[in-house]
């Protein structure tokens, strides 16, 4: 009989060992916090009515070719409802959490996806890691996240990043691999450098696929808000979490509805990026 492996103990030792690098983790915390503060500062600065107009304006501009008035009406009513329910500030905090996580996910995910597309070895190594990141229950890495980054928005962002990065990586990889061979050949035949080939041919052609990945990442980040609230990330998730604690179905539903409204708005806005601008 093989004795039970002390796997849990090993991980604990690893975490203990890692905590000695708290200087490193502190600087990451500070960096993330700076991004979070910047987003939050902007959202707090903009008056609510202007914020609503901006969102409607962006949507209108994005969809100017197919004139979807229904979406604009939905957005207007939805945002007014959030305002009315008193969730506005929570909503901006959630938006901050989601946008910060997605931003970081893109900064990591797109270059990693490109690297994977270029090197089969990288793909072989990274793919199982992505599987791991997506399937490991989120609660599990909340524990070390708190150990390294304390309580608050930062570990929430971190947990969201881990969960939200894989689609961007995978879709970037896929998009670049799907660029037709004669297009990359044409780029090379005219003497493009690798960078020219990447920026003038591969990324533009892969853009719709990459944007589909970005859209997925954003949605996954949003799905993490309630879990992130358990380690002190503020926002709509906190409202849901409190409602669960107080066994208040009504308040929970109201906050949950706000999350849904936010999700639909973010989804529709980013979805239009995934459409090829020349396909109309």
């Amino acid at each position: 009989m093989i004795p039970k492996l002390p796997l849990a103990q090993w991980i604990n030792q690893l975490v203990d060992w890692l905590t000695q690098f708290n200087g490193f983790f502190n600087s990451i915390t500070n960096f993330f916090q700076a991004i979070i503060n910047a987003f939050q500062w902007v959202f707090d600065l903009i008056p609510i009515w202007l914020f609503i107009i901006l969102i409607l304006g962006i949507t209108y501009w994005e969809k100017r070719h197919d004139k979807k008035w229904g979406l604009l009406i939905f957005e207007l009513l939805g945002l007014l409802l959030i305002w009315n329910l008193g969730f506005w500030h929570d909503m901006t905090e959630t938006l901050t959490l989601v946008l910060t996580s997605t931003l970081i996910a893109l900064v990591i995910g797109i270059p990693l996806g490109i690297w994977m597309a270029k090197q089969n070895t990288v793909q072989i190594i990274v793919n199982p890691i992505l599987d791991f990141m997506q399937t490991m229950p989120a609660f599990v890495y909340l524990i070390p996240a708190v150990a390294f980054f304390g309580i608050g928005m930062v570990p929430g962002v971190l947990a969201s990043v881990i969960f939200a990065t894989p689609p961007t990586v995978r879709m970037t990889n896929l998009g670049i691999r799907q660029v037709p061979r004669d297009l990359t050949e044409a780029a090379e035949a005219y003497g493009s450098s690798s960078w020219q080939k990447l920026f003038k041919v591969e990324l533009p052609i892969a853009r719709p696929t990459i944007m589909a990945g970005v859209n997925q990442s954003l949605m996954l980040a949003l799905s993490m808000v309630v879990i992130a609230s358990m380690i002190g990330a503020l926002g709509l998730g906190t409202q849901v979490y409190f409602a669960v604690g107080r066994n208040d179905a009504g308040a929970g539903f109201a906050a949950g509805l706000a999350v849904v409204i936010l999700a639909i708005i973010l989804d529709r806005i980013t979805q239009s990026f995934t459409q090829d601008k020349n396909s109309h």
Partner: protein, 398 residues
Amino acid sequence: MEKEAKIKVQNITKIFGPHKDEALKLMQQGMSKVEILQKTGATVGVNQANFSVAPGEIFVIMGLSGSGKSTLLRMINRLINPTQGAIYIDGQNIIKFNKKQLRQLRQKKLSMVFQNFALLPNLTVLQNAAYGLEIQGMELNKRNQKAHDALELVHLHGYDGQYPQQLSGGMQQRVGLARALATDSQILLMDEAFSALDPLNRKDMQDQLLEIQEKMHKTIVFISHDLNEALRIGDHILIMHDGTIDQIGEPEEILTNPANDYVARFIEDVDRTKALTVKSVMTKPDTININKSGPRVALQRMWVNKISSIYVVDDENHFVGFVDSDDVSQLVKQGSRDLRSVLRTKVPSTKPDVLISDLIDQISKTPIPFAVLDDQNHLLGIILRGSVLAAIAGEEVE
């Protein structure tokens, strides 16, 4: 002396797959592609190819799919790196080039046109045509001007701002051609450039290519699987199969003198009138010199050759006309020695490079054989109907 080759391919070999060294050795021992594949698992793409392309010519590489023609073409700009051998462009071995030299070479000297056009869907027609120049780092206004000029050259007016998908196949390939011409490179590599087009468009594009070639004198390596196309545009044709070159020669040479059974089968179904020129079917006529020969000589020569008329030239073999045996007999009876009085100068004539297909209608309607004259009016030969028919049937003339 022959002009220095623009592109010289020396013993170039490409082997795909594992065990390249072993495969190379077997290949040099003369083993076939199939045997090498069975023994080593390696695929011979191109087997020790040798050829050179002269400046300003259209060199067609012909073969069916899998013959290695695309691989061969891609080794000239090193989209595929050869396993062995050397390629000289303007005397420089490009196989030895480093990355930077290679990029320079591709930017300045080589352009490529692709079978499925390979235009960027996110760029406009103008931006696509300017792609090569953009890569070179040319500033926007200048490159747009050059790209615009190139588009005019391929008769694509007013489409600058459109996107490729909005254009027909033929028009898209014009953009591809304009992209290649815009960079002013001397060498064009054309990979089945017209194969994706419908027959009418294809013929249009071939005409246009020839028209452009007349003006620009590029060195063109053109890949095709269509023999009629090759015969139409090629100055030289290379035929290959299974990675091996079967024959290199001028279109007529290939048609009249196939090097082996493969080539012979390849050319079986071709429409010969579209490839054969007057030169290859003309025969050497018997002539008399107007300044030296009188009516009696003329009669005697006609009698010997059993013909009823004879062609007349001057001292420098300039064509003068022909005389008929009845007229000459009359002259002899009259005791006149002046052949010029019965000389007939209204003779159908043609040039040696004219295609038989352009002439066949007239040949069938004219009773007198056509005289073949060069630019200085020298008599090179005559066209007999019988030899035209023989040539079309694929038989050797004389």
